[in-house]
């Protein structure tokens, strides 16, 4: 029987299959493109637009989006970021395009990024310093402003330094106080009281000069202020110490714009968050993610490598080996949230609760290890990523030709000596691939962390200058959770969107780069494998 040609060649089926593949690939490319595009322009300075409306209002701000007005079909409306939250109570205004009478881009408009209350948009009037008043029309204004802002930054830095030192002085007082309160025996109580006395004495001796300096710094900070005028005419005094940067956006040339763009990225990557994470930087989240995966590798690499070595070099193929393989397959297939639940029930409440009862009984019922923390999160993720390391390491071990092993054994090496000196060095790229893939997987995983110790805002990094330097029990911030939290739990999602996209780009870049590295490594390994097979 002769079939129709289109059935025989299956062109339709082939084309559909090709379309399916193309759509799948387009989804990846599309995702990367959307994130890069939106995040890429998130920090690019937008022009400040001055709008005069039909009802007499004058608005200054950045045009954020343009869309069809749902209330007036066929008309367009703009979402204008007007900032000045302390004056207006809101950051954004909807403006129907039809209501705009005049639109201009005034060269004298300034954008002031503040540490509190978000951006201020307006016109600079004058700069007040202890040396005198400089008007914005004065040609010395630019230099004076730069100097004032520099001074402001120094004062903020010094204030923070002083506060840190005061906190460090007070910390032992709190610690020994709590210890004396919760002491189980009289002897311990006496010891804690003595230590408390010493800590108090130390604080009383050293705190007063710091406090005096603090008062002075704060007074100086109040002396340098920038006086601005909002578009509506209200005057606003901004202390220089509260300014992150002040720029006449519209008057900037291309070079200055690029500089501003780069400095914003720099701030984003290396500064602390402000305003409930919707402004400032993501440094603590970046640091928390890095430290967490770093700690994780200490658990997952030994466990994964040993398991792979067992399966590939030692296993006899009996019931036990099959059980281990089955366990691995299941670990790979279990939803990540289940690992989180296990981490919470076993590590946090089980192990952590026991540690608290044994070692930190004095501070109970406040938990030390019995609550989520970076240690528990990294151990949970270690368990989750074991299969990744095992698979990659096994591939590495398989790439070692049996002849090499036999040669070593023939020379009289024991099994362990062969492994240690011949097989493992040969398989190292496989181990490295597995480690990188595990790190990439862990860096992007969020759900288990929500149960085992991630927080939206950690008061302190898990690694700092206070002994014992590495605080394994502390909660931490994480890039992935940061995306979820700022994008969904934030009070001001719209204003935070650029930040979220930028965070997404950072996380995505991290994961993609790690994966490309692993892919390249593995490609090398496979080439060797195919050579050795010949």
């Amino acid at each position: 029987m002769m079939r129709a040609p289109w059935l025989k060649e299956g062109i339709a089926a082939r084309w559909l299959a090709a379309a399916a593949l193309l759509i799948s690939l387009a989804m990846v490319v599309g995702l990367l493109a959307v994130v890069s595009a939106v995040a890429g322009k998130a920090f690019w300075p937008r022009p400040l637009v001055l709008l005069r409306l039909a009802d007499g209002r004058v608005l200054l701000g950045e045009v954020w989006t343009r869309e069809a007005d749902p209330n007036h079909p066929g008309h367009e409306r703009w979402r204008l970021k007007t900032g000045n939250r302390d004056l207006e109570g809101q950051d954004f205004v909807w403006v129907p395009k039809a209501a705009v009478v005049a639109r201009e881009v005034p060269a004298g408009a300034w954008l002031v990024e503040r540490r509190e209350y978000g951006n201020f948009y307006g016109f600079a009037s004058e700069l007040h310093t202890p040396e005198g008043i400089v008007s914005a029309t004065d040609e010395r204004f630019g230099d004076a402003l730069a100097k004032a802002l520099q001074r402001g930054r120094e004062l903020v830095e010094e204030e923070r330094h002083l506060l840190d030192r005061l906190a460090a002085l007070h910390a032992p007082v709190v610690k020994y106080g709590a210890r004396a309160e919760g002491a189980k025996s009289e002897r311990r109580r006496q010891r804690a009281l003595a230590a408390l006395e010493r800590a108090r004495g130390h604080e009383e001796e050293n705190a007063p000069p710091l406090l005096a300096r603090l008062a002075e710094v704060r007074h100086q900070a109040e002396e340098v202020t920038l006086v601005m005028t909002a578009a509506g005419g209200q005057e606003m005094t901004v202390p220089a110490a509260g300014v992150v940067r002040a720029v006449p956006v519209n008057a900037l040339g291309l070079g200055a714009r690029v500089g501003l763009y780069l400095s914003r990225w720099w701030e984003f990557l290396f500064a602390e968050p402000r305003e409930a994470n919707t402004e400032g930087g993501i440094f603590p989240a970046l640091f928390g993610t890095a430290l967490m995966v770093f700690l994780m590798t200490f658990a997952v690499v030994p466990l994964g490598v040993i398991t792979a070595v067992y399966l590939n070099e030692y296993a006899s193929g009996g019931m036990f080996t099959r059980a281990v393989r089955l366990a691995l397959a299941n670990l790979a297939g279990v939803p990540s949230i289940v690992f989180g639940v296990f981490g919470l029930a076993f590590f946090v409440y089980g192990v952590g609760g026991t540690i608290d009862r044994l070692l930190f009984a004095d501070s109970l019922p406040t938990p030390t290890f019995g609550t989520g923390g970076i240690l528990w999160a990294s151990l949970t993720l270690a368990l989750l990523t074991v299969p990744v390391v095992v698979v990659a390491t096994e591939e590495g071990l398989q790439s070692v030709p049996d002849a090499t092993r036999d040669g070593a054994r023939a020379l009289g090496a024991t099994r362990w000596q062969t492994l240690r000196h011949v097989v493992l060095p040969y398989a190292a790229p496989g181990v490295l691939t597995g480690t990188i893939l595990a790190v990439a997987r862990a860096a992007g995983e969020v759900a288990p962390l929500m149960l085992t110790g991630v927080v939206k805002l950690a008061p302190a990094l898990p690694l700092d200058g206070v002994p014992p330097y590495l605080h394994l029990e502390r909660k931490f911030m994480h890039l992935g959770f940061h995306i979820y939290d700022v994008g969904f739990q934030s009070p001001n999602v719209e204003a935070a969107k650029p930040m979220v996209y930028a965070t997404t780009l950072v996380l995505l870049a991290l994961v993609v780069v790690l994966n490309l590295l692993a892919i390249a490594l593995r490609a090398r390994l496979r080439r060797r494998l195919s050579r050795s097979a010949v």
Partner: protein, 715 residues
């Protein structure tokens, strides 16, 4: 010299043995970790199944009792004696006596409020007294000391033939429900004065109950139940808001925590729960909510101050029932026949009873998790305020009297719905894509595609979820027509292909490999562009400018921005790489000799793929889809962000859902350790684990079969 070598050898062998042990132990560690994971989930779930327990704790003798209450710490039972004193009976039998003050013995009646903080007394001369009764906790070092404080609020004459039905209080005011042969009245007593609201009851009030605020009352007469609302001190006469005839003769009544459900006990042992619901034609009606197992005559019903359980005291027995799960939790062992009083402890960790001779019996209670049973977790349950039995997930509410609704069904349905939509989208794409790459694509393409698919698998799900919710969902809502138009992509590509297949074979041969792929890409681009260009016109012409409004107006379909379509797409993104990779592996494992044989017999590449490769690899393709399902079911962040998290049972593609994984992620950090919610959520995790475990087993078995089938051929 020789000795050195021998020692060296021995040492090397020792190290070798030692390392072999260590490495085997390491392999075992993975197994142990997995077992530990299962074990811990089970350990944390098991207490849900533990049956409630009650144990008798001792008897303390005392004088003639009228009323009794107990402090929060179960240290002392306070018994009101007919002679007009409070007897504080400790566990060791030690008794402290506090006189009631201006109360004239011998007392006729006494009654404590449900929380034990207010006491109403009718004394020997027919006066009604309201008193406030507190036991303040102070600490003497480690030792807890309860300091009793009794304060008279007000008193008024009520006359003869009255009996106390219920007492509630707040601060300096108390409200007492008093019954008589011809009706009932609510007496408001405060330091400012006394007022009475008469309730228009039809007949003698047999039993009654008051809401905690005192503004609602339930009165049971010999024939019916009546409900009174808005009982303010200024109202002198109140008509019932709703009434209903009863099928039995009531003997006791109590309102459960939350003031929604009233429980009636009957002369012939009936126990029924009733609640007020809005009536169809406005107003209210009393609705029969539940019936419990019968028994002897019910003497009294005592509600818990913690949740929806209550004590039913019968003539010679007493049992604790739970409203939501509709079951008898436990019967009090060795209950003294003829006990006159029985109540639950305030923390629901005990119960006590007082006999007519004044002996105080105590029980310790371990009710564990009464609100979680198979029925409440997996079957429809009629909750308070609900017209009919329903499956609802609502784990926490604003008030103390909130009834937790812990049905796992909406979560399971939501999970399966999300996974289903994800598979509908991803399985065809991934399977077809894998087939193309494996069978038709040029070899070079495969080397590009594999890393890209690997990258796709590596994209963190939080990124996918974020984009789906904040980028895709608004876009889909705005351009619903384009989204629907995507469905036309497959038929249109196929139609063009059919047309093309009549073209001369010479042309067709030139269009193969990369060129073929480029042509398909071109078609997709043209189709997409034309959709985008056409959309605004279609919008105006057919849908009145807004498809979402049109859907609702014409078809009655409600549209959530974060819906199953968006979730299916986003989850599909996460699932495609899994299905693709495993399917591609399965296709690769089909021995090339089979394909070669088929083509030698004259089959085209497509025929070889259709008749040889796909059937041979079909178990592997099935396993790929199964593993994709496993991933979709367990995915957390995408559904958490893109579903709206509403626990609906709707299967509509335009509505959201709430999945098991997302619920765990959101609610477990807030759930108190060891509580019912904590354990139910861990049970949810255990279910997820079992599901994925089963899928993994099936996939592993399939892989094993494939290996067996082709192992010989490939060799």
């Amino acid at each position: 010299m020789k000795g050195d070598t021998a020692r060296f050898r021995a040492r090397a062998r020792a190290i070798d043995r030692w390392m072999a042990g260590l490495i085997t132990g390491g392999g075992a560690a993975v197994l142990v970790a997995t077992l530990l994971l299962v074990l811990f989930l089970v350990i944390e779930t098991v207490p849900l199944l533990r049956s409630p327990r009650a144990s008798a704790e001792g008897v303390v003798p005392q004088g003639v009792p009228l009323a009794a209450s107990e402090d929060e710490y179960r240290e002392r039972v306070t018994v009101v004696g007919a002679e007009g004193d409070l007897h504080l009976v400790g566990r060791d039998g030690e008794v402290e006596v506090i006189p009631l003050g201006e109360v004239k013995p011998a007392l006729e009646q006494a009654l404590f409020s449900a929380d034990g903080r207010f006491l109403a007394v009718i004394d020997g001369v027919g006066r009604l007294h309201a008193l406030s009764w507190r036991q303040r906790v102070t600490w003497e070092g480690e030792k807890r000391v309860l300091q009793p404080r009794l304060r008279a609020i007000a008193a008024t004459a009520v006359g003869d033939g009255k009996h106390l039905l219920a007492v509630v209080g707040e601060g300096n005011t108390a409200k007492v429900l008093v019954g008589s042969e011809d009706g009932a009245s609510l007496v408001h007593l405060s330091e400012d004065g006394v007022s009475t609201t008469n309730l228009a009851v039809a007949g003698a009030a047999v039993a009654g109950a008051l809401a905690a605020s005192g503004a609602q009352a339930w009165i049971a007469t010999a024939t019916g139940l009546q409900w009174f609302q808005r009982l303010d001190p200024g109202v002198s006469l109140s008509e019932p808001t709703a009434s209903v005839p009863l099928g039995f003769r009531p003997s006791a009544a109590a309102v459960l925590l939350g003031d929604v459900t009233v429980v009636l006990g009957g002369e012939s042992g009936e126990v029924e729960a009733w609640q007020a619901l809005p009536a169809a034609g406005g107003g209210w009606r009393l609705d029969h909510a539940a019936r419990f197992q019968g028994g002897e005559r019910v003497v009294a019903v005592a509600p818990s101050q913690r949740e929806k359980s209550f004590l039913v005291q019968r003539v010679t027995t007493a049992e604790i029932l739970h409203l939501t799960s509709r079951r008898t939790l436990v019967a009090l062992p060795e209950f003294p026949p003829g006990a006159v009083l029985a109540r639950l402890s305030q923390r629901l960790d005990g119960a006590f009873a007082v006999t007519a001779e004044g002996a105080v019996h105590r029980w310790g209670l371990q009710l564990h998790h009464p609100e979680a049973s198979f029925a409440t977790l997996f079957l429809p349950v009629r909750y308070e305020g609900y017209e009919r039995a329903d499956v609802v997930w609502q784990s926490s509410g604003g008030s103390a009297g909130f009834e937790p609704k812990l049905s796992l069904l909406p979560l399971i349905v939501g999970t399966l719905k999300g996974a289903l939509y994800a598979l509908l989208f991803s399985a065809p794409l991934a399977l077809a894509g894998a087939l193309y790459v494996n069978q038709f694509a040029p070899r070079r393409l495969r080397e590009v595609v594999k890393p890209v698919i690997e990258l796709m698998a590596a994209v963190p799900s939080v990124v996918v979820g974020f984009l789906a919710a904040l980028f895709l969902a608004p876009l889909v809502r705005e351009h619903l027509l384009i989204s629907a138009g995507v469905l036309l992509a497959a038929p249109s590509v196929a139609a063009v292909a059919v047309v093309w297949s009549v073209a001369p074979a010479r042309w067709q041969r030139r269009l193969s490999g990369t060129r073929e792929l480029l042509v398909v890409l071109g078609m997709l681009v043209v189709a997409g562009t034309s959709l985008i260009l056409l959309e605004p016109h279609l919008h105006q012409a057919w849908f009145g400018g807004d498809v979402v409004h049109w859907l609702y107006d014409r078809l009655g379909v409600s549209y959530d921005q974060r819906n199953a379509v968006v979730v299916g797409f986003a989850l599909g993104f996460a699932v495609i790489p899994i299905i693709f990779t495993i399917a591609e592996d399965a296709l690769s494992n089909v021995p090339p000799s089979l394909v070669a044989a088929s083509m030698a017999l004259g089959a085209t590449p497509w025929e070889a793929a259709r008749t040889v490769v796909i059937p041979a690899a079909s178990p592997g393709l099935f396993a790929a889809v199964m593993l994709g399902l496993g991933r979709a079911v367990g995915e957390t962040m995408i559904v958490l962000m893109a579903t709206g998290n509403t626990p609906l049972m709707s299967m509509s593609p335009f509505n959201g859902m709430r999945t098991m994984a997302a619920t765990i992620a959101v609610e477990l950090p807030e759930a108190p350790y060891g509580g019912t919610l904590y354990r139910v959520l861990i049970l949810t995790a255990l279910l997820l684990f079992c599901f994925t475990f089963a899928i993994n087993m099936v996939a592993a078995a399939v892989a094993e079969r494939l290996r067996k089938r082709f192992g010989r051929l490939a060799a």
